[in-house]
Amino acid sequence: MLNSLTLLMALPIIGSIVVALLPKTKETLAKQVALITTLIVAGATIAMAVNFQRDNVDLQFVEKYSWIPTFGINFAVGIDGLALVLILMSTVLAPIVVLAGWNEAHGGRWSVKVFYILILVLETMMIGVFAATDVFLFYVIFEAMLIPVYFLIGGYGTGQRSAAAVKFLIYSLFGGLLMLASIIGLYVMSGAQGGHTFDLQALSQLEMSSTTQNFLFLGFFIAFAIKAPLWPLHTWLPDAADSATPGTSVLLLGVLDKVGTFGMIRYCLTLFPDASKTFTPMILVLSVISIVYGAFLAIGQRDLKRLIAFTSISHFGFITMGIFAMTSQGQSGATLYMFNHGFSTAALFLVGGWMISRRGSSTIADFGGLQRVTPVMAWSFFLAGMSSLALPGMSSFVSEFLVLVGTFTRYPVHAVIATFGIVLAALYILIPVQKALHGPTTAGNENLSDLNLREKIAIAPVIAIIIALGFYPSPLLKVINPASAHVIAQMGFTDPAPTNGDK
Amino acid sequence: MDAANYLYLSALLFTIGAVGVVVRRNAIVVFMCIELMLNAANLAFVTFSRINGDLNGQVVAFFTMVVAACEVVVGLAIIVTIYRSRRSASVDDASLLKR
């Protein structure tokens, strides 16, 4: 779409306006408009990705419009490999979510079209949050994203949806508040050093005392750690995922939470290299705890949605560990992990959601023997699970292994403990697989219907991407590598050389 | 003698007025205490004006007096109105702020 990020962001908004203008009764039309819009956006993003110069570490497709001149705030966007990959993931996931959750909006608090308006508005923000190069713009979108998600959970979810939505909102707002304080701090600092600005590039040149840096860093980091979510700031996630519709969960865990890890690279590392180094030991420990803890908690869950949510906490532990390992393998692995996690969690949540809506229960023990009744659905779930446990040949293996190898070269102990997570991963995936898919077909499951054509079309690309990238991740890695190498270089790190066992 | 003595006096009067506002229940007395506080402030203004050799302080004191007069007029009118409906001028009876 003419390679303009602004236009890309505008497309879903236009779609949402069209949906808003439709009469309330034309529900199917609203869904179709949403689907077509998201497909166009996905196509436009892919076109942009093709035009992206992958060896260029500078921001590309840069656009800058003055927004609030008094405070030096610009509407400034631009992407590097990291942002491109995440935008690509978001916009490809969006049509899949719309298609997969075709009937999700029924039974919500508001009409069907409101659901799709919220989804489309959210898509705009998903693009914007990754593309923003103005810290203030980023903050605004970062916080504004909460609003559609709040309504999506609170309005269309199940169970204790209001409570979960409020918990999610307040938790996130708390983090956002800390970040706002840091942003204002940065703004004030920039004023003292040659002109007030919110420009990311300019802010990264600021000179700060280590104390200042540490405090400002923490403001950003805590916000991102809540978003990511990192132990022990994770407890909003299971509740939110439990209450949200599967599609919302995909966007929540697949995309929104990535803002946290994305922010750690883009803001924490870039703006506060020294503070990042100071806090690295602590963050790595938290990451390792997240990995092991999330896995144990997943094993202990009886509810399918909560289980998936906890697996994500474990996976986010890997991502954070990769980011702060400060090696190119860790960094690239973490970025690739973000992309892969989006798809593997999407597959888990979507198939899990279909299972739950068919069975009318999300308790794992209520299922049984689905492999004989609904083979396609069972296989989809199984493959999604294999991707989640990072089976080689699945895309998540490449990223997980890169993270582990990258971490090992600098922090062997952390990597070793994290590797135990792969055994736990086998358990947390195979236990629900055994209970739900294997064994005799239990009462209540005999007449479940297998996936229909729409659902097959929705899940097929996800699984295809997972497997294809497992064997051939190079296209993505080639985009990611220059960006992560740039970050590592900016931080002043070089990959540890082989030691020949001298240590 | 130091001009600062006036400031001490002003502080003392201001404090006494503040205590009166809190402690007394009769709305009219409370008002008088507020007036006392304003007057204490005025004394400080006048003293500063003298210390600085600048009449601006006196101008402010003058405006304070005007505003205080306005305040007294409106305040007393309110007291009369309240009294008329509640037959009482005790500030404690007017705890409607709570409900």
């Binding site: - | 003698m1 009067l13 006494i16 009166g20 008088m32 006048v46 006196q58």
Partner: protein, 263 residues
């Protein structure tokens, strides 16, 4: 023109004497205002504080303000206070017992802290330069000096304040204006109401004050046939003000006969 202010910075003896005489009086009057029971007394003490302040103003080369203080404050504002007191002043005796638990100790601690800190703050403050005095600013006379400021630099606030004053006056009138929502009951209606009432006890009218009592002052309740005081014989305003005498000495049967025996 009375030239009480003598010099700059350190006031010389006459002003010191003035200060040390009047300042304790001022503080005493302020404290008295705080402590006395009757609102009227408070008002009188307040007026004396204000007059003292006026003298201080004048002593500090603020002649105009001193005069205005006397005219506007002591004259107008305090008269207004007294007027309202007379108008409303039924409740003017303010019992000094505290009704809100714990408020008084809190107020005292807070005010002692506030005052102490404020005074010590003033004590610690330094100007960084010596005091100037107003002799130069008052060269053309205090009133002229003030006027030139008021009508040049402060002309806009001055106008705004005047608008405020008018608004306040109008507001006071609006607030104090009592709009009758029923027609005033006629004597006939009142009489009918008295006889149609639930009880005929007061059909013949309320007893007047002092009837059968030992004293016929307006604040002495009438005595009922059994010798108990009739509270409803006293004007409601006096009653509300607490000016009703309840002393048993006026009751029947408890007459102090010592005087008669002397006769």
């Amino acid at each position: 023109m009375v030239d009480l202010a003598i010099s700059v910075g350190t006031t010389q003896n006459p002003e010191a004497i003035l200060f040390w005489v009047l300042a304790p009086l001022t503080v005493a009057a302020a404290l008295g205002m705080l402590l006395v029971k009757k609102a009227v007394h408070s008002a009188i003490l307040m007026a004396s504080v204000m007059i003292n302040l006026a003298i201080f103003y004048i002593a500090q080369n603020a002649l105009f303000l001193g005069i205005v203080q006397i005219v506007v404050y002591t004259g107008a504002v305090m008269m207004l206070f007294l007027f309202i007191l007379m108008l409303v002043g039924v409740d003017s005796s303010d019992s000094l017992t505290e009704t809100i638990t714990g408020l008084r100790p809190i107020a005292i601690v807070a005010s002692v802290g506030f005052g102490g800190l404020l005074i010590s703050l003033i004590g610690r403050a330094t100007l960084g330069r010596s005091a100037v005095g107003l002799s130069e600013a008052n060269m053309n006379g205090n009133v002229k000096g003030l006027a030139s400021l008021l009508f040049s630099t402060y002309v806009w606030p001055f106008e705004v304040v005047s608008a405020l004053l008018i608004t306040a006056a109008l507001g006071a009138m609006v607030l104090a204006h009592h709009q009758r929502i029923q027609t005033r009951p006629t004597q006939r209606e009142m009489s009918t109401a008295r006889f149609r009432g639930e009880s005929l006890a007061n059909a013949a009218g309320l007893p007047g004050p002092g009837v059968y009592a030992r004293h016929n002052a307006v604040d002495v309740p009438a005595l009922l046939p059994d010798g108990t005081p009739a509270a409803n014989s006293i004007n409601a305003t006096l009653k509300a003000r607490g000016d009703m005498l309840t002393s048993g000495s006026f009751e029947l049967g408890k007459v102090d006969t010592s005087a008669e025996e002397e006769k």
